[in-house]
């Protein structure tokens, strides 16, 4: 066992600098609000932006000198944290997603009044939590990150507390999330019972050196851990919360909530199964494949019958979770594809919810597809951006979504999951239907009712940028693919 002295000896503040900056930044935002009581959100927006940029800067600095960091310094804090390219890439994605979410959802923060400081602080804290989750190789540490991130999200879901459905969403999310957390931590305990360690790397070491005659306890533990994480990415059959929460929570925040949890949980899941339990691949791979297949089918089929854009996006998120799990199955080779997918999908997700917030109002919970009728005429730029993002999610060639899907499918096929790839392709075909339905509504139907669509200047530019990136990465995926490949190699 490790002693406190040992723990002290390998403290590396640099290794968790981005998280520290975010946490301190959250405190700073609250302090500014208390001290200066700003009437408008301007100063807070600048502070948040600065904090995000600083965190990004620290991550980038570490990335640049990553090759020089010797293996002995890769696992600071008593081997609880790992310094590697994957973790840094997770931070990049999370920080970009956070910045985009704040920029596109700024209307919401304006409307929140004095509570905007709380909301911003919570966003920063949850980002810190999910980042910690992505860089931890210790299951308790991972759980800490998960909880820090999730609890902040529960509160954010109910931040517009004068609205009953927002409260309902928060409550549902909290209740089901707690169950999932309990399942996860119970699984952690069982894996400890099975291997005698909470450190993923040590667990792997133990399993490679010993042969378990009756791995039952360990298998149950691993299954529970996987379920706890797949809940966070809203994979079926643990997805039931997602549509209700996506619909109830304020539109300006849903994109962030969905994206951040997915990044943290997927990376944690990858670390768990591929770093910790590659030896038990034969046991977990079929279960993960089953969850993936179920997610893709349920997500696609149920998304097709939704009449609310946010619920549709929630179910499509279930399907996307299945696609990403498909990539995870191909082991260490698949992580590059998973990376690319995560990066482009979370971008599109945040962008899409940014548009939804602009069209239906940042704090409402109604976003019927019919509200988008005639958007092509009312707000052509917004409609084109939304169409691009939806087509990207659908995986149309010449968008980043196509490259992403192609990548994970190819990896999974080579890993021997041909049947799963066939299911995935069929699900993608169904998915085209519901994405196109929204686009058709936007461009081919007459506007009905009043026009509430309004979008700020910054948000408009940011959204346009996301759409452009979606197309550019569809034509020139090489730089990001190389970056992802690089991250895995480091």
């Amino acid at each position: 066992m490790m002693t406190l002295a040992q723990l002290g000896s390998d403290v590396s503040w640099m290794a968790i600098a981005p998280e520290l900056v975010l946490a301190l930044g959250a405190a700073l935002v609250l302090l500014i609000d208390v001290q200066f009581k700003p009437k408008t959100g301007g100063s807070l927006a600048w502070t948040t932006g600065f904090v995000l940029a600083a965190a990004f800067g620290f991550a980038l600095a570490q990335w640049l000198r990553l090759a020089d960091i010797p293996i002995s310094e890769r696992f600071p804090f008593g081997r609880m944290v790992i310094v590697d390219g994957t973790g840094l890439l997770a931070r990049f994605v999370l920080l970009v997603v956070t910045g985009l979410a704040v920029a596109t959802g700024w209307r919401l923060f304006e409307r929140l009044g004095r509570r905007r400081a709380e909301a911003l602080a919570l966003i920063l804290l949850s980002a810190a939590g999910f980042q910690l989750m992505a860089v931890s190789v210790h299951l308790v540490m991972m759980f800490m990150g998960l909880e820090v991130g999730s609890i902040a999200l529960y509160v954010l879901a109910g931040i517009t507390r004068e609205r009953a459905d927002s409260d309902e969403a928060a409550m549902k999310y909290f209740l089901l999330g707690s169950v999932a957390s309990a399942v996860f931590i119970y699984g952690v305990a069982l894996t400890f019972a099975g291997t005698g360690s909470l450190n993923i790397l040590e667990q792997n070491q133990f399993l490679t050196q010993n042969i378990l005659l009756a791995p039952g306890v360990l298998l149950v533990g691993l299954a529970l851990c996987i379920i706890g994480l797949t809940f966070k990415v809203s994979a079926a059959p643990f997805h039931a919360w997602a549509p209700d929460v996506y619909q109830g929570a304020p539109a300006g925040l849903v994109g962030y909530m969905a994206a951040a949890a997915k990044v943290g949980a997927f990376i944690a899941l990858w670390r768990l199964v591929d770093l910790g339990f590659p030896t038990m691949r034969a046991s977990w791979a079929p279960v993960v494949a089953g969850i993936a297949a179920l997610s893709m089918v349920v997500g696609a089929v149920l998304a097709a019958v939704q009449s609310d854009v946010r619920r549709m996006l929630a179910y499509s998120g279930v399907a996307h979770a299945g696609f990403i799990l498909t990539g995870l199955l191909s082991g260490i080779d698949g992580i590059r594809g998973v990376w690319f997918y995560l990066a482009v999908y979370t971008l599109q997700l945040v962008g899409a919810f940014g548009v939804v917030a602009a069209v239906t109002g940042a704090s409402t919970s109604r976003s019927a597809i019919s509200d988008f009728a005639g958007l092509g005429r009312r707000q052509p730029v917004l409609a084109v951006v939304f169409s691009t993002l939806l087509l990207g999610m659908a995986g149309l060639p010449l968008t980043s979504g196509f490259i992403a899907k192609f990548g994970v499918f190819q990896d999974a096929w080579q890993a021997g999951f041909e049947w799963l790839v066939i299911v995935a392709v069929l699900a993608s075909v169904i998915a085209f239907f519901f994405y196109l339905r929204v686009i058709v509504t936007m461009f081919m139907e007459e506007p009905s009712g009043d026009d509430h669509a309004s979008v700020g200047v910054v948000a408009r530019w940011v959204l346009a940028l996301v759409a452009i990136v979606t197309v550019v990465l569809g034509i020139l995926p090489a730089p990001l693919l190389e970056l992802a490949g690089d991250a895995v190699a480091r």
């Binding site: 409550m171 549902k172 209740l175 089901l176 169950v179 999932a180 399942v183 009756a214 791995p215 039952g216 306890v217 360990l218 298998l219 149950v220 691993l222 299954a223 529970l224 996987i226 379920i227 809940f231 059959p237 643990f238 039931a240 919360w241 549509p243 209700d244 038990m280 034969a282 046991s283 977990w284 079929p286 279960v287 089953g290 969850i291 349920v298 696609a300 089929v301 149920l302 097709a304 019958v305 075909v429 169904i430 239907f433």
Partner: protein, 631 residues
Amino acid sequence: MIELLPLVIALPLAGAVFLHFFGRRIGEPASGWIATLAIGAAFVVGLVNAVPAFTGELHHAEHVAIWDWMPAIGASLEIQWDALSVLMTLVVTGVGTLIHVFAIGYMHGDPRFSRFFTYLNLFAASMLTLVLAGNFAMLFMGWELVGLCSYLLISFWYTKPSAAAAGKKAFVVNRIGDFGFMVALMLIFLNFGTLSYGGVFERAGEVLTTGTAVAIGLLLLVGAAGKSAQVPLYVWLPDAMEGPTPVSALIHAATMVTAGVYVVSRAAAIFELAPAAGYAVATVGAVTALWAATIAIGQSDIKKVLAYSTVSQLGYMFLAAGLGGYVAAVFHLMTHAFFKALLFLGSGSVIHGMADEQDMRKMGGLRKHMPTTAATMGVATLAIAGIPPLAGFWSKDEILGVAFEGGTYGQVLWVVGLITAMLTAFYMTRQWVMVFMGEPRWDDGVHPHESPRVMTIPLVILAVLSVVGGLVNTPFRLGLEHFLHPAFEGIDLAHPSEEMSVFAILAAVSVLAGVAGIAVGYLVYNRPPARWTKFQEGFGGLWTAWEQAYRVDDIYGATIVKPGKRLADAAAFKFDLPVIDGLVNGAGWLVRTVGSKLRVVQTGLVRNYGVLFVAGVLAAVIWMVVAGGGV
């Protein structure tokens, strides 16, 4: 300086982009001059970089990488700078600049003046992409882009239904050729695993079997025949004359239509492995040369004569390339660019001066009113007729010389070439005489006048080139041959005989043929129109056939276009609508039905979600434990 080469493409491209956004504001004539400046600068950059090629220091192809797009398949933006691309670049930018200048005068007063130059610059950039490409992917990019520009420029006056239709026709016919070209590229990629010239041509001998080489060669020929308007795909080029005349000169005479000849020459290494494909190229070329020459005789539209003449001359180049006479083909490509561009610009000048009249029967006697145009076009006519020492004589004679040395089959083609040469001399003289000699037959209210300087100066420069351009490669001094040699390293080039006596005899025969053609043309058409009719009636139905271009368009319409339309209709309404749409709608219905049933699970009640969750946990845990052998 070689790293400046990308500018050759970038400058006209920048010109096009700039004019697209600001052209209207800048207006006339400044936007024309900007476009001219862009391509002129590209010419200068090309010329500076061509110096090593002239001094003989460019032994191997130089490569300038612009952007690695898909390195795995050898598809990148990469310039290959060797003698062949040097020559093509100089022709495209040089002749292109002159035509740009001419167009400033010709397009005067057009409401879409600046848009015209946008397209013209875009075309130049595309054509340069084509000739500078270092791999087949970039070549194909340029290939398609020039097709697009050609389409845009043919139908430039799109409000005229005939122009719109001509653009469409050019597009569709080219598609047929492009299909063959694409399949050829796929075959190349399949066999070599790369599309880069180096990777393909250097290893062609060891990789390709004769059968594959023939297949690739024939497919390349299909593509080349589409772009270079060879039989049977030539029908779009005469219609393309609906475009403004500078377009005809630049795209449909001097540059784009020679792309097919360029590709065949570029792929010499493949054709060398496939003599059968080479003979096919030569045969197509010879048939086209004679076929189009006979049609040219019967035309009375000043531009149609030139269009068929171009088709015929391109056939000449194919004839030479197919027999392995790549130098002869490229040589003729160059001289033809000079005199045919001159003829087109001259005809443009005539049309301009005659208030848009194109019918030669309504011209006549113009030499007094348009002396510069008459003189320069006269030079071009003599050049294309093969009168020494003008440019056309040397290049045409080299082609005929190559054919004569090409065995029995080559000598058959030589006879065809000789007849074509005589016909060419005849119809070109006929044209010149009908336009510039005799009595005026103008419509009322037409007041012919010489064109402004901006139009006549390019004519004079091209006339000079048409006179001296052939001197770069004479049997006495094989300048071009040595110049191009590095580009055809390892290729067994076909040559005319080196015996001076053979050259002298062949030259005498072909000059005789040319003079005969000129004489007949002059004697018949330098008389009142009644005498022409009598002469033409002497040919009976044959002349009508020539006049109506053998009615090939009607035949195509009946045999290909109509059945094609019927097939498309059947596919759309008998198959697509009931079968495909039915399948799609059925699948959609299925998904919706299943989805609606599944939706019941989503009650909104947390306790139900909890049950679902626990059920999922149990299922997953049991599955995992059982699968993992935990019990």
